[in-house]
Amino acid sequence: MDMKKKLSKESKKVLCELGYYYINSREYEKAVAIFNSLIIIDDQLPFRYGLANVFFSKSDYDKALEICRDILDDYPGDTTAKLMMAENLIFKKRDSEAAVLLDQVLGSDADEASMKLARDLKQGISQGISSYAG
């Protein structure tokens, strides 16, 4: 039986929301377990973003960057992974590398929320946001 069919789309969304709930409540181990489980049964990008977000939220920027790089290896034009990678790079005080990725997002046909986030992150870089990070 196809493992992907064991869970409905709605159930996966609910579990993904639960993963983010655990991130917000700083229960990172539970969040990792949820996103890892979702990836095992159905390796979709939103679950990989979720896992990267867990590591970003717990300040494990290297691990988050590793996940973003893996996504970009599989999907080189993925703007969400680029945005997440840029955020992690800013927190690692690697502003110029982050700016390159943000420019790539701004030059793409990404959705409006992603464009706004890219613009705000660029503005944050110009305001020295990385000096407040960490």
Partner: protein, 98 residues
């Protein structure tokens, strides 16, 4: 949160004044100015005079502090936008689950 060296000096002098119990302006005047602030009657010039007189800040130090606060306000505004758009981006990814 990181502040510039000038701001750190200003904050240190204010903290020193607080520790020594110095109020700068006399308490009667202080109370009346607080009343005016609460009524919204004070203009920016009066607030500036009051701040420099009561804290012992020079005009230059006051301007430095004001610039620093302006920079921090702008940064908070940017951070707020980042958080809002970050949330929206995450919501969009969840909607894309198949």
């Amino acid at each position: 949160m990181k502040v510039s060296m000038d701001s750190q000096n200003i904050l240190a002098s204010i903290q020193q004044m607080q520790a020594s119990g110095s109020k700068g302006a006399d308490s009667g005047k202080f109370d009346s100015i607080m009343e005016e602030i609460q009524k919204g009657d004070l203009d920016e010039g009066k607030i500036r005079d009051f701040t420099t007189n009561s804290s012992g800040l020079s005009n230059e130090q006051y301007l430095i502090m004001q610039r620093e606060m302006q920079k921090q306000n702008e940064l908070f505004s940017t951070l707020s936008n980042i958080m809002k758009n970050r949330h929206q981006t995450i919501q969009n990814t969840i909607q894309n689950i198949k």
